[in-house]
């Protein structure tokens, strides 16, 4: 089926309970104040930092109290999992950990906008997205513990492997989306990447391909303000969402610490893709509250007062205030969630402490799908070499 016919046939079948009522999203019209920062007015926001609901002309959201509590739960559990992983790294159980602290709303809001048959291409920090896709959190730890290079089947939850090389996965997402379109499916594909990654040629090429082939892909850039030590200003002169215009598709900036706005905007972008209108760029304006990874020292480059500004915009606190304003969650809810968090942390800690090291011979597994005589030869040689130590030990 061609892209056009998808668009023509799809509308009825594609209507889902979560589809936005409004027409497809338009890019926000006003530019930012700072070159790449921008005033809050330029961003889609549905929830103020004080937890007050506001309306946006292009992005509305109907949401039940139950759904609000669900989003809150996702964010709290993701943060707790992340904190536990950070602690485990400090205790030497993980070699490295890239924390998502501060980016919970961007991740949960975007991931909850998706259907199970949509496909997600993450970078290496999307622990909250993985959570929403149903990936067992402990699966995410193997790579950072050094026992595997991924370890999950991407097709189980339509959640691709983490990608370390910056920007590579954005092209994969585009190609996958081209395939989705060729198949006549109405799934959407979501590619996550950072503001730093936006400078990579691969990302520019993905924008080109997706536009030319009208691929149903949503480019979801988490602008967390930093690429290790380099601020967004090192990557771009214009707000990132505006880049889309040059490629011929819409771009929008959303308050990335506002889970409701992220949900509404990502739904609209996914619907844009589903309905055959091609790619869309969402820039979630957020903040990485921790270090880049546990190896990083942000005090070397980050102004002291910056963190305080963003702490006041904490995504979890914001939704909590909203829930309390609405009276949509009582003390019992929060207590139960605390207990659930503790249980999750305990489960993760337990899992990692019992996670076995791989067999040395695992290095020779899965090098080729069809096998290779050189691998067979080296495997046999190495097995014999290892066995020679065992023989030696027996002799002694």
């Amino acid at each position: 089926m061609t892209v056009e016919s998808r668009a023509a046939h799809g509308s009825g079948a594609r209507k889902t309970a979560t589809a936005p009522r409004k027409k497809a999203a338009r890019p926000a019209r006003r530019g930012g104040g700072r070159s790449t920062g921008g005033a809050a007015g330029a961003m889609v926001q549905l929830l103020t930092p004080e937890g007050e609901r506001v309306e946006h002309p292009d992005y509305s959201l109907d949401i039940t109290d139950d759904e609000l509590r669900g989003l809150y739960r996702d964010m709290v559990l993701s943060r707790r999992f992340d904190a536990e992983a950070t602690a485990l790294q400090r205790q030497g159980e993980l070699g490295l950990w890239p924390s998502l602290l501060g980016q919970e709303a961007a991740q949960i809001g975007s991931a909850r906008a998706l259907r199970p048959d949509d496909y997600v291409f993450p970078t290496y920090r999307e622990h909250g997205v993985a959570w929403c896709r149903g990936v067992d959190p402990q699966m995410l730890l193997g790579m950072f513990r050094g026992v595997n290079h991924g370890g999950w089947d991407p097709n189980t939850n339509n959640f691709h492997l983490y990608t370390i090389v910056i920007g590579s996965q954005v092209l994969h997402a585009t190609g996958y989306a081209m395939g989705v379109a060729k198949d006549g499916s109405d799934a959407a594909v979501l590619a996550y990447f950072g503001d730093g990654a936006s400078s990579q040629g691969d990302v520019a090429e993905a924008f080109t391909f997706s536009a030319v082939y009208n691929a149903p892909v949503v480019f979801f850039c988490q602008n967390n303000q930093w690429a290790i030590s380099e601020p967004t200003e090192r990557q771009t002169r214009v707000p990132l969402y505006q880049r889309a215009q040059g490629y011929g598709f819409p771009g929008v900036r959303v308050d990335g610490n506002d889970v409701l706005a992220v949900l509404a905007v990502t739904r609209a972008a996914a619907e844009h893709a589903r309905s055959g209108q091609g790619p869309m760029l969402v820039e979630a304006f957020t903040y990485r509250m921790g270090a880049h990874t546990t190896s990083d020292d942000p005090t070397r480059y980050r102004p002291d007062d910056e963190l305080a500004v963003w702490e006041a915009r904490d995504p979890i606190l914001r939704l909590r205030r909203h829930l309390e304003r609405l009276g949509a969650a009582d003390a019992a809810f929060f207590t139960a969630l605390d207990e659930e968090s503790d249980a999750l942390a305990r489960r993760v800690r337990e899992a990692i402490r019992t996670m076995p090291d791989p067999d040395p011979m695992a290095a020779f597994e899965h090098v080729y799908a069809d096998g290779h005589t050189l691998v067979d030869e080296e495997r046999a040689q190495y097995a014999a070499y290892l066995a020679s130590f065992a023989d030696h030990a027996e002799e002694n």
Binding site: R145, I164, G196, L374
Partner: protein, 325 residues
């Protein structure tokens, strides 16, 4: 003046000297400024030489090398940093199709004094793409020079020589040895950049290594000496060109050669050395040239990297096999 420095600080000192000596020298890469690089190799340089000389680049490796080529065409001497070995590939196109060939295409009329610094090799418990040894992928390309120091003194001098060189130089830094201290004599006169060096004399077998593996080779020679075997260790230092004369002299003396490197053995630099040394020393060899190195498999997860790396035991196993002929 001799000073005891960790290898990373020796690289820093070389960059500092070069920046000081020649206003055309630039340092560019991701996080090289305020952060001082993820290994702190460029620590303090931006503070002293400014953002125009020590340049934090956008996150774009093709961009880093491509613009370095342009800057070199304009008379600058860019010293670029690729953050980790596995991230050089977005820049591979620019390095292989452009940087390596432009001098020849212009019939020698233009020079491309670009240095590409790449921390390489494993053993630091990192995630994927942070532990690789891609030197053979570059050595196959004419127009590039490739070196890999193994100690602080060489790191200092070889980098200074690389910056002064009018050809593009791929400068592989053994990241697992960044914190190893050594005496750096900044006043001495360095030997030729591409000369190999006998770092331990011996009579029974030549053990050839470069970069991070030299330390392993020396440890192996120490262990072998305890067992009564005398190994000569040669630090190759340069991967392209290779100083075959020095290797040949050593092999003619010992009659045996084992080459150790972290990169996969298959189509690796050891293969080239084995072929050439067999040709040059056929009648002196008591055993085939053996290679010890990585497997034909992706660099494995950290918990089993010691199996993949040519460590002491595997190197000694190679030595035993060569001596058994």
């Amino acid at each position: 003046m001799a000073e005891r420095l960790p290898l990373a600080k020796a690289v820093n000192a070389a960059l500092r000297t070069a920046l000081d000596a020649d206003p055309k020298v630039l340092v560019m890469g991701e996080d090289v400024g305020k952060l001082g690089g993820v290994f702190r190799v460029t620590d303090g340089l931006q503070k002293d030489f400014g953002e125009d000389r020590v340049i934090d680049t956008p996150l774009a490796e093709s961009g880093i090398i491509g613009t370095a080529i342009g800057l070199a065409l304009r008379g600058y001497r860019p010293v670029t940093e690729i953050q980790f070995d596995g991230f050089v590939f977005p820049a591979y196109d620019q390095i292989v199709t452009q940087l390596a060939k432009m001098h020849a295409r212009a019939l020698g009329k233009i020079r491309l004094p670009v240095v590409v610094r790449i921390p390489f090799g494993g053993g630091i418990g990192a995630v994927e793409h942070h532990s690789e040894s891609p030197e053979a992928l570059f050595a196959h390309v004419a127009g590039l020079k490739i070196v890999a120091p193994s100690n602080a003194h060489d790191a200092y001098w070889m980098l200074r020589q690389a910056i002064e060189c009018d050809d593009p130089v791929i400068f592989f830094e053994p990241k697992a040895r960044y914190w190893d201290k050594g005496d750096v004599d900044t006043d001495g006169i360095p030997g030729p950049l591409h000369a190999a060096r006998v770092v331990r004399e011996g009579t029974d077998l030549t053990l050839l290594a470069y970069g991070p593996t030299v330390k392993t080779a020396l440890a192996a020679a120490e262990a072998a000496a305890d067992e009564g075997t005398s190994l000569e260790v040669v630090d190759m230092r340069s991967v392209s060109p290779i100083d075959f004369d020095t290797i040949q002299r050593s092999v003619e003396k010992t009659g045996r050669l084992v080459v150790a490197h972290e990169a996969p053995v298959f189509f690796g630099s050891g293969a080239e050395i084995a072929a050439r040394i067999t040709e040059r020393c056929f009648y002196h060899l008591e055993a085939p040239v053996l290679r010890v190195g990585g497997f034909h498999a992706p660099y494995p997860p950290a918990r089993i990297e010691e199996d993949y790396l040519p460590g002491l035991d595997r190197v000694l196993d190679g030595v035993d096999r060569a001596l058994a002929y």
